[in-house]
Amino acid sequence: MTTLVLIEAEGASIKKASLSAVAAARVFGAVDVLLVGAEGAQEAARIEGITRVLHADSTPPLAECIAALIADRAAQYDHIVSAATAYGKNILPRAAGLLDVQPITEVIEIIDADTFVRPIYAGNALATVRSRDAIKVLTVRNANFEAAKLGETASAPIESVSAAVEIPDARFVGIALTHSDRPELETARVVISGGRGLKDAENFKLLEPIADRLGAAIGASRAAVDAGFAPNEMQVGQTGKIVAPDLYIAVGLSGAIQHLAGMKDSRVIVAINMDPEAPIFGVADYGLVGDLFEVLPQLQAALEA
């Protein structure tokens, strides 16, 4: 049997989270990837260790259509996998619903073909679950899996597919992307995040020179997002993005449970906070107690030195 991995392209390139999902799925055996959208098939064909690329170039980018497409072909697969991104989390549970199986979301470890580890209660507990379903539908946290590599040339055959079923009436209107020249938050090697301690959106810019110097992505706590200091997609936490960079620098954020759920698997955590009792110091490898408005310029100077 084979695994189907739903992957996602950004322009003509495959998202790194999808490459992690492919690598995770390869432990089950042979992998087919499914790509929906006009672009990206050529790069998908370069993913190492896959059998073939199923390309649905005329399917609208809607959960209704993509879940139908997956369910339509599911009998050929024993596992259906995607990255636990907003894209995968929208589509895979719907596909599971069509197939009458219980999805297993946000998997952080694959024990065997039926057994998976996933965090519950905002990462305050880890549950190991064994699925009794014939087809396992799962989303995997890309931060916990290495990315599959891209070969020099396209080696997997590309096969055109489409859904042969009626879909409910939904229309894709459009997407307003937040433009950023910085690395993607979920795959960045270094992340610097700001909290309510930054006091306003203008002060969030204080993080930029340090992010530039370190090649870091910029994140935010929910409090900072709710206060309008930063856009939603910068939010790190249980209800935002889950990151696990080599270095995570938390500036002016207290470290609420919901935030820690999104970053406590980072390799090295640095906390800069005025309050020595802030919970963030409980997970930080290096803590600096001080006024961030004094510390940030000093940090910048020290990095330049």
Partner: protein, 249 residues
């Protein structure tokens, strides 16, 4: 248009969960329980749609133990008109919950189902999508704005790189993200009024749904504890440690 709002009783989000000593799950006995925060947002949005004239009746539904009734009363104090408790002692997975909800939706015949995008206990983020699939309705997940017009709903969704907009024929299933609204507090007079609103109880095992779990919980453990860190005195010392000790910059 009638709106059905499924809500869940969960361990309060301010409580630090404790794993049971026998590793069978998380301790819920004697712990403060509340309405799942995303579901409060769903109730609020339903009430706002009614205030705008886009909805006529709001029915809240929960599935679980008798002790979940206060969550339904809270929703009615926020503005829901009546409530349904689908009563069961069983711990149910999203698939079974979605199937039970479908029986309620089939009976109530609403124009819209609004529910939270995920429950903060199992963190599954699946029930709304499964329900939409089983109803064969369109879905607007992770909604940060909605508007209803001419039998359709426009949903602004929180996508990976920004905001995505979809336009769905009603009936549809919408799941709420945090930015959709700020839920109102129930006032004392409304809490009193909510006590008189109808609350119907239905036994889950009378609904003809297979509730057997598909996932067996093998074990639940505490996550690994991070090694205690150190405090540094200055930014220069911090950079030194990151360069020479942690070797991450």
């Amino acid at each position: 248009m009638k709106i059905v709002v499924p809500v869940k009783r969960v361990v309060d989000y301010n409580v630090k969960p404790r794993v049971k000593a026998d590793n069978s799950g998380v301790e819920t006995q004697g712990v403060k329980m509340s309405m799942n925060p995303f579901d409060e947002i769903a109730v609020e949005e339903a009430v706002r749609l009614r205030e705008k004239g886009a909805a006529s009746e709001i029915v809240v539904v929960t599935i679980g133990v008798a002790e979940a009734q206060p969550v339904l009363r809270t929703a009615m104090a926020m503005g829901a008109d009546r409530a349904i408790l689908v009563q069961t002692e069983a711990a149910l997975e999203p698939l079974a919950v979605a199937k039970l909800l479908k029986t309620i939706v089939d009976r109530e015949n609403p124009g819209l189902v609004i529910m939270g995008k995920q429950a903060i206990d199992d963190d599954m983020n699946a029930t709304g999508q499964i329900l939409a699939a089983r109803l064969d309705w369109p879905q607007g997940t992770f909604a940060s704005a909605v508007s209803v017009e001419n039998g359709r709903i426009t949903v602004t969704r929180e996508a990976d790189g920004g905001l995505e907009t979809v336009d769905l024929a009603l009936p549809a299933v919408v799941t709420t993200d945090l930015r959709l609204n700020e839920p109102r507090y129930a006032t004392m007079p409304n809490i009193m009024k909510a006590k008189k609103k109808p609350l119907e109880t239905i036994a889950a095992d009378t609904l003809g749904v297979d509730l057997a779990p598909r996932l067996e919980t093998v074990t639940v453990i505490e996550p690994p504890v991070r090694k205690a860190g150190i405090k540094v005195a200055s930014a220069a010392e911090l950079v030194g440690k990151l360069r020479d000790e942690a070797k991450v910059i």
